[in-house]
């Protein structure tokens, strides 16, 4: 086939330009470490990248959610632990005060300690977290949940709300327990329920009057049982959070490795491709200069 001189030159330069453009792309891939530089490079692969990124971001957030619930539940756990210690001490004092050999003065002294413990328990029930939310107030977190009225009755002003936290796409866990469930609705030996503060109040009142209180111990133990069972659910939830965190982390890891296989560069392949392209460019440059130096005019 006949070839025009200008075309011969143009072909040579076009070939070099094409090689250079391929090289530039490989170089971009190598410098970013990404196989897909824009969605146009691999539209099919790209459709998976966005949802994978979302999964990673979502599950990391679930883990953050879990951590925030953990802080809150850990505070509840330790508060319940202290409340159990107090109630155990009240129970010891009740046994001590029911000893027949004690006189009125002894019982008054015991009653004093019981009242102090009652105040401490009240303070624990009104525990607030670092952001000033009462942890045993249901949703009514900004109002002191437990108060004693001038008439001497104990009131709960919180509600029955339980804040949930999202641990996974379909997994939620409560961040706390409403206060009435912990301190108010405790089975009463006299029938129905009674709050733990009233139980302690009754005990103190009896001892101040130098009266033995045999039923108090039952009610105090019922309160302790209640604390322990609430604490057990808190422990179970902490476990759930831990387990779910592992699940989420596994999911993140899997997604990240899938993502990497889609968008990350296979360096070995890219480097050997780079070498091949360098050789091709060199070859086209050399052939260009060789061919261009040939001309019949050189011999005229």
């Amino acid at each position: 086939m006949r070839v025009s001189t200008a075309q011969l030159q143009l072909r040579g330069t076009n070939a070099m330009l094409e090689r250079q453009s391929e090289l530039s792309k490989t170089q971009m891939q190598l410098s970013t470490g990404k196989r897909i530089l824009t969605p146009g490079d691999d539209p099919v692969g790209t459709t998976q990248i966005l949802p994978l990124n979302e999964t990673i971001s979502k599950n990391k957030q679930y883990t953050t959610n879990g951590e925030s619930a953990q802080t809150r539940l850990a505070l509840e756990d330790s508060t319940l632990g202290q409340a159990s210690n107090i109630i155990t001490r009240v129970s010891e004092l009740a046994i001590q005060g029911n000893n027949g050999s004690l006189n009125a003065t002894d019982r008054t002294i015991i009653a004093q300690e019981v009242r102090q413990l009652q105040a401490s328990l009240m303070a624990l029930a009104n525990t607030a977290d670092s952001s000033g939310e009462y942890i045993f107030a249901g949703h009514n977190v900004k109002t002191t949940p437990f108060t004693e009225s001038p008439a001497g009755t104990f009131n709960y002003t919180g509600d029955q709300g339980q804040r949930q936290v999202q641990l996974g796409t379909s997994q939620q866990v409560s961040m706390g327990n409403p206060g009435d469930e912990v301190f108010m609705n405790i089975p009463y030996s006299g029938g129905g329920t009674q709050n733990v503060f009233q139980t302690i109040e009754d005990l103190a009142t009896n001892f101040e009057a130098n009266v033995q209180d045999t039923t108090a111990l039952t009610d105090i133990n019922a309160a302790l049982d209640n604390f322990l069972s609430v604490r057990a659910t808190v422990g179970a939830r902490l476990n759930t959070i831990d387990n779910q965190r592992l699940v989420n982390e596994e999911l993140v890891l899997q997604s990240e490795s899938t993502l990497s296989s889609i968008e990350d560069l296979d360096y070995a392949e890219a480097i050997s491709r780079l070498n091949l392209q360098l050789v091709a460019l060199q070859a086209s440059q050399q052939s260009y200069s060789k061919i261009q130096s040939l001309s019949l005019f050189n011999y005229l």
């Binding site: 824009t38 969605p39 790209t46 949802p51 971001s57 900004k142 001309s295």
Partner: protein, 549 residues
């Protein structure tokens, strides 16, 4: 004998001149090599036979094949069409799919910050972060939309400037036609090769702008047609193309052909070339991208607001709008400028954002029926009469109504989502107004925040088939596919163009080695003729010296 030798000298001078013309134009764009045709002169009858009287140049022709040139022009048009498309598409592609610039990360961050509010519903800092994440999400909508708008106005400017060069080329072709006809007449039918080459270059420049067809005339002029056969150049006169404005949307540049006093719209007919590519990318990429982005904005604002209003804020008041009511303000109906002057307006309200499609619609009234044409797939999705108004088209998620009257031939362009991404904004800036609690619940409740956060994973779009991110992902992959296609098609067309140019240049291009050989050939022939003259001289001297003694 002397005159025979002189005829050789003259002919080979011409041949050498043509060869050197070829050599000097080896790199001239569009130049076709020229060849000298030699022929014997009419012989002289002498007694018993004819004696040859020498050589004549019968013609100087360019080596040219109209089919090959047409092929080059056609492929030039397709190549520049795809390249114009790709140049715009690749810009959209690289921003919308970008991990840092695209919408996806902003959407993720926004929903993550909702979880942080759910974890700590009374925390003002957490609420503040939510508002600023929402605001940066809105900024992403604005930025992406602005990019599309900038490209759109860039395309409009390019179309304007392309029109100027197109008209310039058309005029030049007409002028060349005149010059060629005159030159051909003056030369008694001999071709003005160089002028014809120049005209071919202009036609190819025109083909870069739009598809052209040409028809050579017997007088040497060339008629040029664009579109589906609209004549741009007829002999020595050229029509002009003017830019006009779309009948619905005055920001869109379109074209009309002006022939004498007749002005006819030609936009729909113009295909191929840079103009075809730009019109195509505007319609099939920019419009759809903006609609798809706007659809996410409308759905997010509407769905989020609906849930937000079900909750209570930090002050115990019922939640208000979180995003502005872009679902009310953005849907737009544009009447045609050709509508009857007395005709009224069509109003649109969205009634189900879940059903919205990535499309604009054209509503036509034929005097008795309205027909609603979905532009994305050009299918008629609803037909109704004025008695049916207000009309809800359930599959498209909106309701149309009429203020005033309509007349036959009225048309309206309906854009339910096009302008939403530009206008989405926050309706609140007080962190306390975030309705995180369930209705009637105290401030520590986070159930509404959880419900809002859950919207991230719910199929609230595309008729319950996809999430916000999923719908955005469809947009990104659509752009990716179109960008990829235009790149691949452009490369394929470029390859075909190279073949066509190779074939055309193979025939018409100058090969310097060949010309060098011709140079030697004609030089030798010239020398030989000169030698004949010297032989004639010797013969004459012989005669003189013999007789003169």
């Amino acid at each position: 004998m002397l005159s025979t030798a002189i005829s050789g000298l003259l002919a080979f001078q011409r041949a050498l001149a043509t060869t050197s013309h070829n050599i000097t134009n080896a790199n001239t764009e569009g130049y076709s090599r020229q060849t000298v045709s030699l022929g014997t002169r009419t012989p002289q009858l002498v007694g018993n036979g004819y004696v040859g009287k020498g050589v004549d140049v019968t013609a100087i022709n360019r080596v040219y094949d109209n089919f090959l040139v047409t092929q080059v022009n056609d492929r030039t048009s397709s190549t520049s069409e795809f390249e114009a498309f790709h140049a715009i598409a690749s810009q959209i592609d690289s921003t919308f799919g970008n991990v840092d610039v695209g919408l996806a990360p902003a959407l993720d961050n926004f929903f993550n910050s909702l979880h942080d509010v759910a974890n700590n519903p009374t925390s003002t800092p957490a609420r503040q972060v939510l508002l600023s994440e929402a605001s940066s999400l809105n900024n992403k909508f604005h930025t992406l939309n602005t990019q599309v708008e900038d490209l759109r106005s860039g395309i409009n400017r390019q179309l304007e400037s392309v029109t100027t060069s197109l008209n310039g080329i058309a005029t030049s072709i007409a002028d060349l036609n005149k010059a060629i006809v005159t030159a051909k007449g003056a030369a008694g039918g001999g071709q003005p090769n160089d002028l014809m080459d120049q005209r071919d270059v202009l036609v190819r420049n025109l083909a870069e702008l739009t598809n052209v067809t040409t028809l050579p005339q017997s007088d040497g002029s060339l008629n040029v047609y664009v579109g589906t056969g609209q004549s741009l150049v007829l002999g020595g006169s050229a029509s002009q193309i003017t830019t006009t404005r779309n009948e619905f949307d005055p920001t869109e540049v379109e074209f009309s052909l002006v022939t004498g006093s007749t002005v006819s719209p030609i936009t729909a007919q113009l295909t191929g070339g840079k103009i075809g590519g730009l019109l195509d990318v505007r319609r099939n990429l920019l419009d759809t991208t903006q609609d798809a982005l706007g659809r996410v904005a409308v759905s997010l604002a509407n769905t989020f607001n609906t849930q937000h209003q079900l909750g209570d804020d930090l002050n115990g008041n019922a939640g208000g709008l979180f995003f502005n009511d872009v679902d009310v303000s953005a849907p737009t109906v544009l009447p045609s400028t050709n509508n009857n002057a007395a005709s009224g307006a069509i109003n649109i309200t969205l009634n189900d954002v879940n059903q919205l499609n990535v499309s604009e619609y054209r509503l036509d009234y034929d005097g008795s029926n309205f027909s609603l044409l979905r532009m994305s797939d050009l299918s008629i999705v609803d037909t109704f009469t004025t008695a049916d108004l207000p009309r809800t088209t359930a599959t498209e998620g909106f309701t149309l109504d009429l203020t005033g009257s309509v007349a036959s031939g009225d048309q309206f362009m309906i854009r339910p989502v096009r302008y939403a991404a530009a206008n989405i904004d926050l309706a609140i800036n007080d962190p306390a107004k975030v309705a995180a609690a369930g209705s009637g619940n105290a401030v520590g409740d986070n159930s509404n925040a959880l419900a809002l956060a859950a919207l991230q994973s719910q199929n609230t779009m595309g008729g319950g088939t996809t999430t916000f991110l999923g719908a955005y992902g469809e947009l990104v992959s659509d752009v990716g596919v179109k960008t990829h296609q235009s790149l691949v098609s452009g490369e394929a067309q470029r390859g075909l163009l190279n073949y066509a140019v190779d074939a055309q240049q193979g025939l018409s291009g100058v090969n310097l080695d060949e010309e060098a050989a011709n140079l030697i050939k004609y030089q030798q022939a010239y020398q030989a003729s000169a030698r004949v003259i010297s032989v004639v001289d010797t013969l004459f001297q012989t005669l003189i010296s013999t007789i003169g003694r």
